[in-house]
Amino acid sequence: MPVHSDHAAGHHPALAHHFQDLDQQKDTTWLAMWVFLATEIMFFGGLFLAYVIYRSTYPDAFAIASNALDVKMGLGNTFVLIISSFTMAMSVYSAQVGKKTNLIAFLILTLILGGTFLGVKYFEYKDKFEHGLVPGRHFDFASHHDPKTGAAIEHGASSSSHGESSHSETGDKKPLREIQIFFSLYFAMTGLHAFHMIIGAGLLIWLIGLSAKNTFSKEYNSPVELVGLYWHFVDIVWIFLFPLLYLIGRHHH
């Protein structure tokens, strides 16, 4: 363990031993957060690249598949997230001006909005599971649409014919595979995003705990600011995901 040998008395309790002052500490953590977000961009970037390639290779299948998503839920979630970005920004502001009650209130609001997003996501996923839209052995898109036009998607229509067999009869097996790729990417991208939301919710709970213990002040509030940055980043990812997955190609049919 490091020995705090030359620790002068009167240092801020939040100042780590190896920094000269709070300013240096703040600069350092900010830079680290931005660098971390750069790695996150590269991380999501791989998935976005795969999406772009398959979207341009299989435009029709992607249009059909994207019509199977629930735009209302996606749109509602988009609003929820944008509002949560606002409440997060208000938490950061409250921390900067040192208003503890407001800080806690806005953090809790942000947490509730984040929870709402995840709740809606849960019902969306549940819907996909129930209708056989999860890639893998039980993938079953055929019962939800007419292969000829690719237009009518009837949710809940319990067709007795299994997707695979009805398709092999019409010789229309390939689009089904391509549609499956869309759903693979849909679950990978929104799943990874939801995972980031869950981490964010954990960070918010941590911040609420720290705020209740009077950790933050006008002088020291970088954790709130850094979680704010992270939260906005996750929101921005969704701002890209929503049109790419839900909106583009809807006019096709």
Binding site: H17, H18, A32, T39, A50, Y54, R177
Partner: protein, 555 residues
Amino acid sequence: MSVTTVPQQQEQENYLTAGYSLQSWFLTYDHKRIAWLYLASITAMFFIGGIFAALMRLELMTPASDLFEPDNYNKLFTMHGIVMVFFFIIPAVPAVLGNFLLPLMLGAKDVAFPKLNLLSWYVYIAGATFTIYTIVAGGVDTGWTFYTPYSTSSSQTHVVPVVLGLFITGFSSILTGLNFMVTIHRMRAPGLTWFRLPLMVWSLYATSIIQILGTPVIAVTLMMAGLEKIFKLGIFDPALGGDPVLFQHLFWFYSHPAVYIMIVPGMGVINEVVTCFSRRSIFGYRAIAFANVGFVIFSFVVWGHHMIVAGQSVYSALIFSILSYLVGIFSAIKVFNWTATMYKGSISYDTPMLYVFGFQGLFLIGGLTGLFLSALGFDVHVHDTYFVVAHFHYVMVGGLVMAFMAGIHFWWPKMTGKMYPESIAKFAMILVFSGFNLTFFPQFVLGYLGMPRRYASYTDEFQLLNIMSTAGGSVLGLGFTLGVVYMVWSLFYGKAVNSNPWKATGLEWEKASSPPIVENFHETPIVTEDPYNYANRDFIKDFPQELSKEVNARA
């Protein structure tokens, strides 16, 4: 009486004697102790990887596949590649020497995020655990590249746990890179401007950028491959409409830059050692510093040269070929500048310097054959032959491992306060150097004659060269084993040294004791001159003794 109290005081203070409990090692936030945790881990992984190499070389002594079934041979070269690339070569210099030296070279008390630093090591261990589990459970046979659709559809081996392990290990690399980059930006001592930084720091900075931008891409790629294997997603499987070439693009977008994660920090070590043992300032400081930046940029635009026969268009292949040639410029800047640094230098032939000579020779051969491989026609001729195997072993082992050995010998007195036995070390160096050449030079010939890689059997005419290669492998293994033995020996019985036994420049030598105290420096150093100012040092008589007196007096 006063004479005897001085060493006692020093003894109490250094980072090695600050605590003896297991907890003081496994929960330490001290970058110097974390470097030791890494050193022990990567050495273990190096010998695990080495055992796989030895088994492969044994199989290849005879033309028939008599020692192992071809399936098991596939597992051997896969595990050799995975363990060596991800668990030894990539972390070797940054995680061991970088961790130990970076704060010392910057005049800082620690890296910017000590807890994150410890976390990186635990993440590395978690990743290594999955890989070792895979070995015990029966191995993987895909090659370390995990090319789809073989890895996701055909292979019946343990692809998922090893992919998960590498996914986790990637975060260790990202966290270390992030920590180093922020440390270099924010933790420099007063007066330590960018162009006064030791070139080792520039190398670590360049490496960090590549780690930060490249590693997340392979993480998400391996994630997709793993999910595809489990859920049959179809992203990479052509039978499900996917594109296997996309996997190769994503894989090499990281794995080519990873070559620079391996070699660039090694080059950083060479800068420090070559100046010290030539007693000269580095030739072309700024050219070398900017060559690092050049490596970063070009590392991200040459991945396609791994895919020249993988189905990309001939125009892509042509462009990647031209870009690959350009990488040679930055390597050449460095190699020429090191040679120019030695010119008219006052060279001493201690072990670290011998490894630098080894590096220069082997990296030169590795680099020049890299130019051969950049040529489209020649690349098609030797694609997936032993020529390629020899080339990347000359670059990675001849380059990185030589540099790592140079560095570990050079800074060993700083890390331990003890000197290794010089004559045995020189003997081991000669074993490593000659063993290496005997192992890999015949492989250039084998590859040129057409022996493909990844096969357990071959035709009779290749046997003589293969026997030479296997013989060289045993000499090489002996050299490395001897290295570990005398290094461990010197920990207990080595001669104690003063703070600067090589009379080197740099904050770690001039301002810190050997071994350093827990917070590195008694007071924050202030930097007033350029690095490698060896010319200036010769005016001070008995310089190291004077300095150690000064350090002891301050303590």
